[in-house]
């Protein structure tokens, strides 16, 4: 249903090929840990940016098969270890894709917890059922064998790569690009002129489906653009 605002010729001769990469992450245990919400707030302020990234963007990948009820580790801990469903809902509602910097994302979480503790000071020092251990990721980017020089090859690449590659290009890319977009949409828009398809990709809700579903949705949008 895509209506590309470009000529077919341009759509099949991109300026540069799309190289499908993926990233591998190794989990590092940091020094921060929280046994209650007051400590949690301190840790949110002090932890390395890699920890914020790990417990939001990365955890999406680690639990990519879950359709509902899991959006980030902070919300999950607030619910199951602190028994604070209201706080958990606020934390879970943070869409990591709305942030192009981890620093801004950190500030959003700090704000939510600060506001909650201001409203509910008694919760600050109530012991959590489980300790929250802040972790971080060491990352290595890995090329895959898929390179797209045409839209058809792009669709083939999408079908062939793992969900880790989808996470790398579609979800984590905004931190690299510093744009409210992703590698796929950027390439479709800038190199193929498929602006409508690029926009459709950006509307996919990653929080209500699995990453495999996300991959299938992206593939379908690209396949429709082929017609």
């Amino acid at each position: 249903m895509t209506t590309a605002a470009v000529t077919p010729t341009r759509a099949h001769t991109p300026v540069k090929p799309f190289y499908f990469n993926t990233s591998a992450h190794l989990l590092r245990i940091t020094r921060q840990k929280a046994t209650n919400l007051a400590e949690f707030l301190d840790c949110l302020r002090e932890c390395p940016e890699g920890s914020i990234f790990q417990h939001t963007f990365r955890t999406l990948q680690e639990h990519h098969f879950i359709r509902e009820g899991f959006s980030n580790d902070f919300a999950q801990w607030a619910l199951t270890a602190c028994n604070e469903p209201g706080l958990a809902e606020n934390l879970a509602s943070v869409d990591a894709r709305e942030f192009t910097s981890v620093s801004d994302l950190r500030d959003r979480f700090i704000q939510i917890v600060t506001d909650f503790l201001a409203r509910t000071p008694v919760a600050a020092n109530r012991p959590a059922r489980e300790t929250f251990y802040f972790c971080a990721s060491d990352i290595i980017v890995i090329p895959t064998k898929f390179v797209a020089r045409t839209l058809r090859e792009f669709a083939e690449g999408l079908r062939g790569v793992s969900v880790h590659s989808i996470q790398h290009h579609f979800i984590e890319a905004r931190l690299r690009l510093k744009l409210m977009s992703n590698d796929f949409s950027q390439w479709l828009h800038e190199d193929l002129g498929l602006t409508d398809a690029a926009r459709q990709l950006n509307r996919i809700d990653i929080y209500t489906v699995t990453l495999e579903d996300v991959k299938n949705q992206i593939t379908r949008i690209v396949e429709r653009a082929l017609i």
Binding site: T22, A24, H25, L26, L27, R28, I29, R31, K33, E62, H63, H64, F65, I66, G69, F70, Q76, T80, R129, E130, T131, Y133, C135, D138, I140, I142, P143, T144, K145, G160, V161, S162, H164, S165
Partner: protein, 454 residues
């Protein structure tokens, strides 16, 4: 359908009473022994099966997919020709040796030349290391100068015996930790892989070991909670299962049926199973109590499959308690199996409607991983490494009491769609995080990260 065994006489439910089987040649003093004798023992009970060769990386392709295998090979490319030495304290028995038996060939296959050495020592050394092991996991211990001398002297002998010329030296667990003291090449990278729970160590023993651990370039722990505050990077490597092992590989439906027939398990009714040693930490009596509560509301059978009662006095005592708790309940099937019955355990897990691991103290809980991998809705105690595997109501259910366990049994048995979804999520969670291939990836990543930090 049975393939290799003679048909067994099937007992009707009305005829059965609490059913008990004892592995090996030891016969149990089961009050219902005459009924047990009506069934054949699977041949595998009597002799351990021949060891199987370790799998190759491509054998995992069907399980994790082409893209994942390609990623592993790419990660290894930059390490081609690099050398690794793994050192631990035993060549056979125990989870570390089992893991190294599988991991070392896979690393060699991707041309990361990996060698495995085992330290040696006298009885006095291993008595000290066992005491250290227990103390580091929280037991009381008085650290004497004599114990320190034995520990250091034996490690020094091993240091002189073993060559440490590789690019990466990986020391497993506290026993060989002092080998780092002989480190000479500055561009070598030394890694301490700690498989035990250091969350509440004996302060004297940890105080003695800590200066050695701090000399390493990195440490690896099996859980966030096991780590200590150290000045070196600490990484998280979850324990893992091998999906191609006897315990976890796919098995024929006919074999599953055969095993159930052998053990008198009625597959037309729901089956609740706990697989674990007869150990109070696994709360087997609590499982029976929960089962009895749940069965008031839903028809089901309970299979308690374990081992360790034959050669462990405490295990035998726990088994006795389990039998007493079961009484003459005809729906409770107690199996005391020898350690080589991996394939039978596999079949029992696959035959189960739900799996329980109601531990009250646990390491990582690999029986939970095994159950999740088989797509089984799993109920488990929220202890040790289990919450890393079970996200409550998403990949399984966590419980904290007998009552909670009973409720979850009832709920999952009466909500099969929800149970099915938990099972599917649980399998994906294991595929992503707790398979042997995930750990190959972690090792390759760590070696690359440390290599690039030279």
């Amino acid at each position: 359908m049975r393939t290799s065994m003679e048909p067994v006489e099937t007992q009707s439910r009305a005829e059965t009473s609490t059913q008990e089987f004892s592995g090996g040649t030891t016969s149990s003093a089961a009050p219902t022994a005459p009924r047990v004798e009506r069934r054949r023992k699977p041949r595998s009970w009597e002799t351990p099966p021949a060891p199987v060769p370790p799998p190759r990386l491509d054998d995992y392709r069907k399980i994790i997919g082409d893209a994942e295998i390609d990623e592993l090979r790419f990660l290894a490319r930059e390490l081609k020709g690099k050398t690794v030495k793994m050192v631990n304290s035993t060549a056979v028995g125990g989870g570390v040796a089992e893991m190294l038996n599988q991991m070392v060939p896979l690393l060699n296959e991707v041309e990361v030349n990996t060698h495995w050495d085992v330290i040696t020592g006298g009885n006095d050394f291993f008595e000290v290391t066992k005491a250290f092991h227990n103390a580091l996991q929280g037991s009381e211990f008085k650290l004497t100068q004599h114990a320190q001398d034995i520990f250091l002297m034996n490690n020094e002998k091993n240091r002189q015996r073993i060559q440490f010329t590789e690019d990466f030296i990986v020391i497993h667990d506290p026993q060989p930790a002092p080998l780092i003291m002989g480190r000479s090449q500055s561009d070598q990278r030394w890694i301490w892989r700690c498989h035990i729970d250091l969350s509440n160590p004996n302060s004297e023993v940890w105080g003695f070991l800590r200066p050695m651990v701090e000399k390493y370039d990195a440490a690896i722990f099996s859980s966030q909670s096991f780590a200590r505050q150290l000045p070196i990077p600490q990484y998280l490597f979850y324990p893992c299962i091998d999906p191609l092992s006897e315990k976890n590989k796919e098995v024929d439906e006919s074999f599953i049926q055969q095993v159930c027939d052998e053990f008198g398990i009625d597959r037309s009714r729901p089956i609740v199973t706990q697989v674990s040693r007869f150990d109070r930490a696994k709360d087997p009596v609590g499982v029976i109590q929960a089962f009895k509560q749940a069965r008031k509301y839903v028809d089901c059978q309970l299979v308690m499959a374990g081992g360790g009662a034959t050669d462990d006095p405490e295990g035998a005592a726990v088994l006795k308690e389990v039998r007493e708790a079961a009484g003459d309940d005809r729906d409770i099937i107690i199996l005391d199996l020898p350690p080589w019955c991996a394939l039978e355990i596999n079949a029992l897990q696959r035959a189960s409607t739900i799996v329980v691991q109601k531990s009250v103290k646990e390491g990582f809980g690999l029986t939970v991983t095994e159950a999740l991998w088989k797509g089984k809705p799993t109920i488990a105690g929220a202890v040790g490494g289990i919450p890393n595997q079970i996200i409550h109501k998403l990949t399984g259910t966590l419980v904290h009491s007998v009552d909670g366990c009973a409720y979850q049994m009832r709920y999952l048995l009466t909500h099969p769609e929800f149970a099915k979804q938990l099972g599917e999520n649980g399998r994906e969670h294991v595929k992503e995080n707790f398979l042997m291939t995930t750990n190959v990836r972690r090792w390759l990543l760590l070696l690359r990260i440390l290599h690039s930090s030279k």
